[in-house]
């Protein structure tokens, strides 16, 4: 446990001055970020961008969870990694890079997939970011974050389609969880088209995901309360969809189990 930071150094004040100028941030907001802890599940396309943006913004602690290693075909969109990292654990490379660049950020790493028998519980954190690449992990995260009452910012992209949503306990009570949109038996379509993706589109979604998480940490009004943003990159169309709670949901319709 690190001691809470109660005042900005003059260097921190200079470094983060463009954020501090924003009405929804200010000096108090910057202190909040420096004392905040975000968990990022998946440090592939979305996650490695999100991690850079949160660390650069001054989020004081990140936990990166991913079992995957860097592959050559990751490099066009996972710009934190380079050729010499191929074969290395993503979380270790990412943690090393982030620590070098952003001295205010402490990085913890877990080299296991979330949802594995030993990875059912999330660390106590201020926000959790779902940057994973499959529904099994997304559903495990939806369940764990609901049970542990941790806010979850979830995003996904394949080919030219993407979505982004934030699930908090209050929001779920009214508008449902991820399972309410995509129940546990949801399958991704297996077409060839859905397997490809452009790095520029991934970076866009990751930036939006980081923005939603930062605003949440700063206590700003949610841009997506009760909604899911759908993005069609083919038409460059952004659509906010209203979510609705499934009264038969296998996750949030069951009584909330309080974790001790």
């Amino acid at each position: 446990m690190t001691k809470p930071i109660t005042a900005l150094t003059s260097r921190q004040f200079m470094r983060y001055s463009r954020q501090i100028m924003l009405p929804h941030c200010g000096e108090a907001g910057q202190l909040t970020l420096l004392n905040a802890h975000a968990v990022i599940v998946g440090v592939g396309g979305l996650g490695q961008h999100v991690a850079q943006l949160l660390a650069a913004a001054g989020v004081g602690r990140l936990t990166l969870i991913d079992h995957d290693t860097v592959a050559l075909d990751n490099l066009p969109r996972q710009t934190l990694y380079r050729d010499s990292h191929v074969g290395q654990a993503k979380v270790l490379v990412a943690a090393r890079k982030l620590r070098q660049r952003y001295s205010d950020c402490n990085v913890d790493t877990v080299i296991e997939p979330f949802g594995a028998p030993t990875q059912q519980q999330l660390p106590r954190a201020d926000v959790v970011l779902d940057c994973s690449d499959n529904f099994a992990c997304r559903h495990a995260l939806s369940e764990a974050s609901y049970q542990q009452q941790l806010p979850l910012v979830s995003a996904a992209i394949a080919a030219e389609q993407a979505w982004l949503a934030m699930f908090t306990a209050n929001d779920i009570a009214q508008f449902g969880c991820l399972h309410c949109v995509f129940p546990a038996d949801t399958q991704t379509s297996q077409s060839c088209a859905s397997n490809g993706v452009m790095g520029s589109a991934v970076a866009t979604v990751a930036s939006l995901q980081a923005d939603v998480a930062l605003r949440y940490l700063l206590g700003a009004t949610s841009q997506l309360a009760g909604q899911m943003l759908h993005i069609d990159f083919g038409a460059l169309q952004f659509t906010k969809l209203q979510r609705s709670r499934d009264p038969l949901c296998e996750n949030c319709a069951s009584p909330l189990r309080k974790c001790s």
Partner: protein, 66 residues
């Protein structure tokens, strides 16, 4: 009756549910999210939710990539 499906007007049989509509379009129900007039409709209610004339139905494929 007329429905607007993914932005395109289409004639469909009257008194059909969302479930029947998907079957008629040959869409696998467990790989999509269904939005009726801007609201995501939970899958458990598709077989009981009636389509009404001029409903806007948008079908989004379930993507999970990251």
């Amino acid at each position: 009756m007329k429905l607007i499906i993914n932005g395109q007007p289409q004639e469909v049989a009257t008194d059909i549910t969302l479930q029947v509509l998907l079957e008629s379009q040959r869409i696998a129900p467990n790989s999509i999210a269904l939005v009726r007039n801007g609201v995501i409709t939970p899958r458990s209610s598709w077989h009981t939710t009636q389509c009404l004339p001029n409903d806007h139905i948008d079908i989004f494929s379930a993507v999970a990539g990251g």
